[in-house]
Symmetry: C2
Subunit: 952 residues, 2 copies
């Protein structure tokens, strides 16, 4: 249901541990280690110091009108004052020239360094600085105490240039003013942040440069010196005689950039003398990245990178020893093999006892049960309920419509609503992972359609047959639970998941198109010359009875064209009106409804394109991000509304969604309880075990793949999952829904991810250039429960639902199929087949596996998919779950074709391979080419955990 972001797995542009699905990239913790706005953040995790807000005040206007103006500020990244535009630049990576760093070094080496200065006010600080250099005494005080101009955007709207009228030294220099307190930036800074003020400029009367660096023992608010009234920890003064090219400005920037570096800051906070300070600067210099002047324009502003190298490596060794930090919590995984879902799920360890996994799951979840309700007390949960409710209802409508089509009304929209509500609510109350949203899913829908046509072809009574299948599936699933089969999920690698997902997506796309084509057959287009115009209304004449005039039935087209209508009472009433008035519509045009075919096509395309376009609004720059998020999140709901609106506006008789008017089963004449045998022979209840076996495989795969995705380590779930318990619940619900003749339900990946996304906890304050950091998910059972209760109440929405035209729903399904298909890495690799090597994106995959091998892997996947499609199209279609399982075998066989290194990049490793690799240690190929830099690349760009959307 969600479109994937495009950035995906490009090595050069994005962190590799951001999953593919768009929703997931927001769900997943941003591994930005520079986000210290929360205790969870890595930079703070490593360097447990307060964050620094650094401001550069520049002395301008020499010699006539000296004034201090804030021209730059840093927290994580640099913001520069655009003087002409009076606004702050976008945050960017600061770049420096090497000479300014070197000049700064020599200035500091000869300058005044005051560590642990006990000053309590700005005046005291200035006095202490002056006292260090007797020849300056008295000259600087007035200058330094002059109030600087800030470019403050207050919490109001207009930027306000502070204090332009107050150039003279003021008596209350230690009291920050109103504008400073109202500074909007203040809200973005985390609590406890300290300030550093850098003052730089050219002063004509100075004979030689003056550098002073002060670390205050206790941070003090230095009056209006910084735009935000924060306690200042550092103070740096760089003044000198006029030079060419704003040299002191550049040196001031250099100090600011140094102070914004976490390691330099760590060192300088602990420096005990000038030597330590210079050593920290030298360490910084050793680690800088150098861009050659002929190949890089130094004035280009580099946007903040999506991920930064782990600062852990840069920790001073003494600190690493002291803290004994092995890896800071929340830091990106440093082990390249530690990326899959497998290694990180304690739930997937086999206990070896019958129902051992289930018992463990129940025990673990029981301890969390009370908190599963208490944790829902947050307003965010309300909006989550609304969003997921709408998505669930849309799903129930679309699947209900399709199921009704597929089963000739044996199930319909009413059953879909009822089943969703009942099954979902029960699952939310009982399941191991209550964030899961149950839904009809594509695979089950496909299977049900196959099952229905099979039983129709063999004249079986469908619902009783289905009941027995349900009973058997529940039994098999219980066996799977008992034997802890869920641990086998580790054999479902990306190869299997992609084959599964691609097939289902293709079926969706194919079905949506077929249904549209069928519509044009039901409402044929009238070509010129076709005898479609004629339709009139014939009344029985006086003395004639009906049997008489029915004999004038026409045999063929020619009859119609040449017949003499003779003595007939007729009018040109439309067919419906004619029938109402006791007449009878006659002629070839009576059953033709014009315009419907093309209008349906228009509705179909409109809803598809509109949903796709709205989904992409999220990446647009227009409108505030909240508005865009709403458009994007509700794209299918809005597309359905648009389609209904268009349809209602024109009022054409398009085929509509069939909804029952009363609360009774869609199929006429059946009870809510399905009779166990119906018209079927008794042995069919035993024979049902065979399709049930297939369905069990399907349910197991669909349920467990989703469960693995939802329980991924990146989502930082605190309460853990419950694979065995979830499967147990699904088995129980299977039985229930079969008995009631409701659709079958399993976990739906995308909607569950959307659920989690709407419940994600993020750090509030984000300093400029920093993405909000991810804290976790509000894990509770209430939102899901509410969603399904609302869904149940919606059964009485029937008078509204009947206005939804079917072509709109087909359009939404096309959209879902296309979105799911394009979200898998497989499709990216298919595109590589068509892409000249020169234009290929810089994928990590392509850095490590030769293009031919990638193409071979893709070709094998394509072949498997083709085979699956062929099987699906033959009478043997019903065994396709078995074929899906066959994918695991094919994947196993691939180990003979590809080396483990290649498979590691193209797919994931199966448990045995993983063990082998781990035993062997580093893989052979990297033993000589895997240089430090190569390894470090991998370190913070672990392979993207692929999201496999089993279409829901």
């Amino acid at each position: 249901m969600k479109l994937p972001g495009q950035e995906e797995f490009e090595a050069s542009s994005a962190c590799e541990n951001i999953p593919t699905g768009e929703m997931d990239s927001s769900l997943v913790p941003d591994p930005n280690p520079g986000g210290p706005s929360d205790t969870d953040s890595t930079e703070v995790g490593v360097f447990k110091d307060p964050m620094l807000f650094i401001q550069l005040n520049e002395l301008l206007g020499w010699p006539q009108a000296l004034e201090w103006r804030e021209t730059g500020r840093w927290v994580l990244f640099e913001e520069k004052l655009e003087v002409g535009a009076g606004r702050w630049s976008a945050p960017h990576v600061p770049t420096l020239a090497l000479p300014s760093l070197q000049k700064l070094r020599s200035l500091l080496a000869e300058g005044l360094v005051l560590l642990d200065c006990p000053a309590q006010s700005f005046l005291e600080l200035v006095v202490r600085v002056e006292s260090l250099s007797p020849e300056l005494r008295g000259q600087l005080q007035a200058l330094l105490l002059q109030r600087p101009q800030h470019n403050i955007r207050t919490t109001g709207i207009r930027p306000c240039w502070g204090f332009t009228d107050l150039r003279k030294a003021s008596h209350d220099e230690d009291t920050p003013l109103k504008e400073q307190h109202q500074n909007a930036l203040r809200l973005k800074l985390p609590p406890g942040v300290e300030a550093a003020a850098v003052l730089a400029g050219e002063l004509g009367f100075l004979a030689q440069p003056l550098g002073a660096f002060v670390r205050l023992r206790n941070p003090v608010v230095l009056g209006p010196l910084t735009e935000v009234p924060l306690p200042s920890r550092f103070f740096c003064l760089l003044l000198g005689p006029p030079t060419r090219g704003r040299g002191y400005h550049e040196m001031g920037r250099a100090v600011a950039v140094l102070l914004s570096d976490p390691q330099f800051q760590w060192s300088v906070r602990r420096a005990s003398n000038l030597h330590d300070l210079l050593a920290a600067l030298d360490t910084f210099l050793e680690e800088v990245t150098v861009l050659p002047p002929g190949r890089w324009d130094p004035t280009v502003r580099i946007p903040p990178p999506k991920c930064l190298p782990s600062q852990h490596k840069r920790l001073p060794s003494q600190m690493r020893e002291i803290k004994g930090l092995s890896r800071p919590r929340g830091a990106p995984a440093e082990d390249r093999h530690d990326h899959g879902p497998h290694a990180t799920c304690p739930e997937l360890q086999r206990t070896g006892r019958l129902f051992g996994g289930l018992v463990q799951d129940v025990r673990r979840k029981a301890t969390w049960y009370p908190s599963d309700f208490l944790d829902a007390l947050h307003p965010q949960c309300l909006s989550a309920v609304l969003y997921i409710y709408l998505a669930t209802v849309t799903n129930a409508i679309t699947f209900g419509g399709l199921l009704g089509d597929a089963t000739d009304g044996a199930q319909g929209v009413l059953e879909s609503f009822l089943g969703t509500a009942v099954a979902g609510a029960i699952f939310c109350l009982m399941a191991g992972q209550p964030l899961t949203i149950l839904s009809s899913t594509g695979p089950v829908l496909v299977f049900e359609r196959l099952l229905f046509s099979f039983s129709r072809d063999h004249n079986m009574d469908y619902l009783p047959f289905r009941l027995w299948i349900g009973i058997w599936v529940a039994t098999f699933c219980l066996v799977l639970v008992a034997t802890e089969a869920s641990v086998l999920v580790r054999y479902f690698t990306r190869f299997t998941e992609e084959g599964f997902c691609a097939l289902i997506s293709l079926i969706f796309i194919y079905d949506a198109l077929c249904k549209m084509l069928n519509l044009t057959r039901a409402y044929p287009i009238q070509r010129p010359g076709a005898p479609a115009y004629g339709c009139f209304c014939q009344y029985p004449g006086p003395g004639e009875n009906e049997s008489q005039w029915t004999r004038t039935n026409l045999k063929n087209r020619d009859d119609i064209l040449i017949m003499d209508l003779g003595l007939v009472n007729a009018s040109l009433l439309p067919p419906s009106e004619c029938t109402r008035q006791g007449g009878r519509p006659r002629g070839p045009g009576c059953h033709t409804v014009p315009d419907i075919a093309f209008f349906s096509l228009l509705l179909f395309l409109t809803s598809f394109l509109f949903a796709t376009a709205l989904k992409h609004v999220k990446n647009s720059r227009l409108f505030p991000s909240m508005v865009r998020k709403v458009f994007s999140d509700f794209s299918s709901v809005l597309a359905i509304l648009l389609g209904c609106g268009l349809d209602a506006f024109l009022g054409l008789a398009t085929p509509k969604l069939l909804v029952p008017r009363e609360f009774k089963p869609t199929l006429p004449g059946r009870d809510w309880l399905v009779s166990p045998f119906g018209a079927n022979p008794w042995w069919l209840s035993v024979a049902a075990a065979l399709p049930a076996l297939l369905l069990s495989i399907l349910i197991f795969m669909d349920q467990q793949i989703t469960a693995v995705i939802l329980n991924r380590a990146e989502y930082r779930l605190q309460k853990g999952g419950g694979f065995h318990l979830d499967l147990f619940c699904v088995a129980v619900l299977m039985l229930l829904t079969s008995v009631l003749g409701l659709p079958w339900y399993v976990s739906a990946t995308v909607i569950s991810l959307a659920h989690m996304d709407s419940l994600r906890r993020e750090s509030r304050a984000c300093v400029p250039g920093e993405a909000p950091s991810f804290l976790g998910i509000r894990e509770q059972r209430v939102t899901g429960l509410m969603v399904f209760i609302l869904t149940g109440i919606s059964i009485f929405l029937a008078p509204v639902l009947k206005f939804i035209p079917m072509p709109v729903l087909y359009g939404i399904f096309l959209y879902m199929g296309v979105a799911a298909l394009s979200s898998i890495q497989f499709m990216k690799r298919v595109q590589l087949l068509l892409m000249p090597a020169k234009h290929q994106p810089d994928l990590l995959l392509l850095r490590h596996v030769s293009l031919n091998r990638v193409h071979i892997f893709t070709a094998i996947q394509l072949a498997c998919l083709g085979l699956l499609w062929i099987i699906k199209s033959t009478p043997a279609a019903i065994i396709f779950p078995l074929m899906l399982l066959g994918l695991v075998g094919v994947r196993k066989a691939l180990e003979w074709v590809f080396s483990p290194q290649e498979l590691l990049w193209l797919d994931e490793l199966m448990p045995e391979e993983e063990r082998n690799i781990t035993e062997k240690g580093q893989e052979p190929e990297h033993s000589f080419s895997g240089s430090d830099s190569e390894d470090s690349e991998l370190m913070y760009q672990p392979k993207a955990p692929e999201i496999n959307i089993s279409v829901n």
Copy 2:
């Protein structure tokens, strides 16, 4: 007709002197100064040395299996060997660590430096290097002579790992092998390129590091040392005992990056001793850009920037003095005011004599006349003819259809073809700028439509009236030519151009939508319940005559519904068939053609979306760039073909393009020569002067704005333009077309730009990471002439053209309107109104003008546009050319609202302002904030010359 690229005027990502239109971004010379593949290129222009191909061979496999392997190469940017994938990485900006540069410096300071080495072979070179360090003698020879492994992609397909079987020293070490000669890279290097080989690695038996730097007196092919058999100029050897972290690899990279820097290379080619070498390295270090370690991941590969800083500034001062280079030819303009079209057009200087400009133009162009034919002898011209012919024909069809609509057939497709061919061919032979393509343009079409409705409303004979207008316009234009009025074009700033363009685009969009809406009225949709079904065929009964049964004509709807058809002979034949058989179609459904409305809408949307999508194929990564270019260039042709195909497939009776079957005027009963008076009173020929004045303004604006754009300095035209001569030609053609009753023609911006684009000369060889550099345009008269001759022949295409459905043409017009509208900066600024400040792109404009001022400027433009639209919609519509001219006045008045600095960024300056600014020198605001770095930003990012598409 062309969609704009999206990259446009973002300061951070793109060179500012790439114009907006997509076509133009390819037309315009890439200011990349690193493209030395042609003598025109800046880097070579500044540093007139051969280019260097630098290869790093690394010694791997110590201690068991020593081998040299090429692991990196540089020309402009770095390519790294992806060992696992066996392919070269994408070219990227090389990044270095500072310590490796410093280690390199100390290694070289103590190492062997051999400048102007006279060695003639690799063996001799190795011997000479060994002789410098006696203790090494004999130890290195075998090692160095061992053949390296290259990753060569030959001109065939498969990469081939060279010589893996020949690890021993070979006797013919100076002869490059076949693979080297077949290396595909060789074709990408410019002639005269020299090689530099860097050999680096760790060697266990060395006690201390060994560094050797050799400059050969005469470049020598060093056998299989480099992957391309080029004469080597430099040779660098860096060996030492094993270290942690591939230290020698990094030092080798440092040497390679240094050698790839143009200034270091210049210095080291002229170095006479070690001191010079180290000084060059120090100069390099002073200019590097430094990225802080905490905010940048050093392993990120930065893609080659779109533009690089001018290397001119970095020239060693002695060289600048010697050469007296003021500015290298072809280097981007360094003066921020030197960006407009005005300053660079000598043709726009007033002579002060009657017809002085015209005479000058004729003189100037006469000297080029023979070459205008000889320069066409190039195969590229053939493809240009095909492309522009298709575009011209499409234009002629679409405008012909619209003109036919607008003038009730007074002109039509035949006139459009004939006029285009005649006028275009004459213009190509006579004009000052023969690259111009004449066409009907939007503004003239709008005016003609207004004129026609005016004369119809006042019962005038249109064509004679129009003839007199043509005569007057020609007269006025001649006066303009005589008085050299074309120099006034300098007052048409972007403000005027954008107003003009936006209005025309909006009219296009509005018209296309209106026409579609009209179609749905002509072919109404049949709603349920509407009496649309009834239509039967009635024959006169025996003994009845026609007058008898025509009295049964029905008065109103109710009559139809309830009438008793009584004794009537009737059948259900379709209306056309019925008429043919002597019957008469009866009933309300007879005039209704079902399905046409929606199908037309589908065709309309399909052609619009398809054309838009195809245009964007150019930016896709799939398919080779040639294929994408074809799709993109022929997007509208392909969209028309698709529309026609769909229409033909379904065979519905959609409204089609009306084309005459014979070669005679579309209006029945008129001669080719328009009679001078017709039914009009004589005084109308005098009164025609009034609308003629308006049309003259329009023609002048449309013609000259296009001419200015085409003659822009960026296109590096050698033969100059001819503003006066062009206007003269337009005047003459105006007369001719009026006499013959053909459409009026002026220069069409977009199609002319497409013409120039298809004739652009580019450097052939592009080294990795380098964009092809622009050399100029094939300026000649033949391609245009051929295009119009072919267009003339196409008049006989009528049997084909009649299959084109009108909705498809409307779709193409919608596309053209949308494309033209979205190509202007104005629209980008309108988008800014809706964009939160945080998400706004980093536009140079926004760096220098406050957001409020930008919004005010945009709002004024919107208000002007609104006013123009209102005027256009009232009976006063015909005076809209005057209102367009009024825009110039509004722009002049804006000088009171905005400062010259703001106008410089928001618009261009008018001639007086320019003079003022130049007199005042640097504008005040930048006197203190305009730092060096600020200026240097502007230096190679001059303001984007905006392309204003006057829709054609």
